[in-house]
Amino acid sequence: MIFNSFNFIVLFPLIFLLYYVIPAKKCKARNMFLLLVSYLLYLQWKPVYALLLLGVTAVTYYSSLLIEKGKRPKRILTAGVLLTLLPLAFFKYFSFINDSISNALSVVGLNFHLQGLNWAIPIGISFFTFQALGYLWDVYYKRQGAENDFLTYALFVSFFPSILSGPINKASLVIPQLKSLRPYFDYYKAVEGLKMLLWGMFMKVVVADRVALYVDTVLPNYMSYTGTSCFVASLFYTVQIYADFAGYSLMAIGVGKVLGFELTENFRRPYFAVSVTDFWHRWHISLSTWLKDYVYIPMGGSRCSKLRNYWNIFVTFLVSGIWHGANWTFIVWGCLHGICQIIEKILGQQKCNYGWLGKTIKIVITFLIVNFAWIFFRMPTLTDACCVITRIFDPSLPLTVYIDLINLPFTIFGVGTLLLKDLIDEFAPNRFSLMNNPSMCIRWATYVLILVMIMITGVFGADQFIYANF
């Protein structure tokens, strides 16, 4: 369910109330209720795809039990992984592989093309597939015992706050919480969760959806705009994707907290990273942890030769690119991030060993690199991405910038507020705390102000979250 939708605002208090009607002692009943809600919300979209979710759950559940029994665990793991990946490969990558092969064949004069699929990709498939695969590998590497209770495991895979766009939770974090006797109502956690929900909503509707108006005007029609406008649009897209995805993650974690759960932290002010390597310690943390644990380390990680280590980094980010989407643009985006990190490793520039000026310069350089890579992420084809980049660097184009006067004040307000909050959180976390201020007046004034800002400057009726497409 989209957290900034009206349905959510109506349904969530109802879910919350019903959940807390069930006594804390009846942990299983509470889990059953959450499982039911998770599946009902998933069914809302395309009912038949709930079968895929159930299928992935069943395959990983039984595979993990068989792996733990210890008879040919590697074979079971391989079969389990392949079966789990099958729906993802089929729905997300079939058309891409099919098109790529037929394009390659047409170069040598062979015309072969299978009928393409025109089916919608099951929502959140990349997230729940990776979460289930992570669990399977954890059981195989004996980091986690196989879960015997199917309902608990099914809830772990389908937990409604995180199924759509993550975070990709680790079984070791969530399953113990599901199995333990949770307190009836954790007031402080719930308040913390509501604050996250409020700020996440602000990031989504006030910042992300507002800058999206500019991005969606300029980038799809880049030929009609100057290079400077394209550059501004790319900067706005960089803001948009952060506010959109980090906003969603905050809301997901917030909803989890209101229900008494702790989910994985997903963002830590990524645009203050001093290197691309540092960026990945702050951006989509749950995915980078997953890739580190299940791709990078099994390949040898950094405990191998330098060359092999560089190769491992490259492959990890290639997988990251492929995970994001079935398009060459995502692959190039992933490769760019991989190559940048290899260069940083060679030059010893992964961390910042300079003073504040050096740090500022490194933050700006990293931001520009990440911004450059986002162009590939945003544009529909490699040709389009290259054309946008060419326009940005074309000196013959005028230096005028397209300005949307109606949206400009709201954009400045939204982006400025987000930047200010992130600056404070990054460099002076214990000062100027408004939402956590000891004074009740200041705290409540902040809540009300954010709510009012959402109501009067938010963009409503916008499309869903960017990462819900992955």
Partner: protein
Amino acid sequence: MGSITKRIDIGGTGRNNYICDKMTDDVLIFGSSRAEHHYNAQMISDSLGVSCYNAGEGGCGIILAYGRLLMILERCTPKTIIYEVTPRYDYLYGDDNHQYLGRLKQKYDRFGVDSIFWSVDPSERYKMISRMYRHNSSFLQNLIVYFFRMSTDTGVKGFRPYYEEMDTMKIKGSKKLYDSKEGYVYDSLKIHYIDKFLKKTKSMKLVFVVSPVWYGQDTLVLEPIKQICKKRNTYIIDFSNSPKYVHHNEYFKDGVHLNARGADEFTKDLIIELKKRKVFE
């Protein structure tokens, strides 16, 4: 905020207030930005001896037009309505219909307007309980306009011409606008509001017009309107493929909008056509 918005008499909000609360002209022009920037209402008034107002609105179509018509009919009945047809906004499927509600938000309490919101999105019924939401994305402009009298041009009788020359960067190829090869999908809600609009304008003369397009336009896209004209026994005057305008940079600001020169030229041509068809007799 509501009372401030009501008192604004300049800029886009002032124009909206005038159309919804005060306008009593004989001839009304409805449609999108192509209506707003193409029809010189003063020229129509002077040439035909009738009072005329341009009630077109950028990025809007039949849903807003119907809402505005309801409010106008509360106080007067126009004699003639000229409707600039923009298929994308008037009957084709594709855009999020929420976008047409912006100018109606502040008029939500007026008779019949609320039901337009509910038909676009039932949850709007609950969102609109919040008075703040009614000023979403517009409160800042309205405050600036009210206190500092800073605003965009209100236009002459609602007509807001573009004075810029053709920006060739905005031209994407030379293919005609709309492509029937992919087939046209119609938006049932927009069609519903076309029907309602037709019913409300039964006692008036209604003329559909398609103003010039630099690219030219696929004629098949106008089929639904042509059928309505047959049923209603009214006209559609189509300038979209007129050789006088197609690919003539001097008349355009971009591929779909005429500049001031083009708008005046087109209005002259339209007046000749209206006279020929004896619309005002």
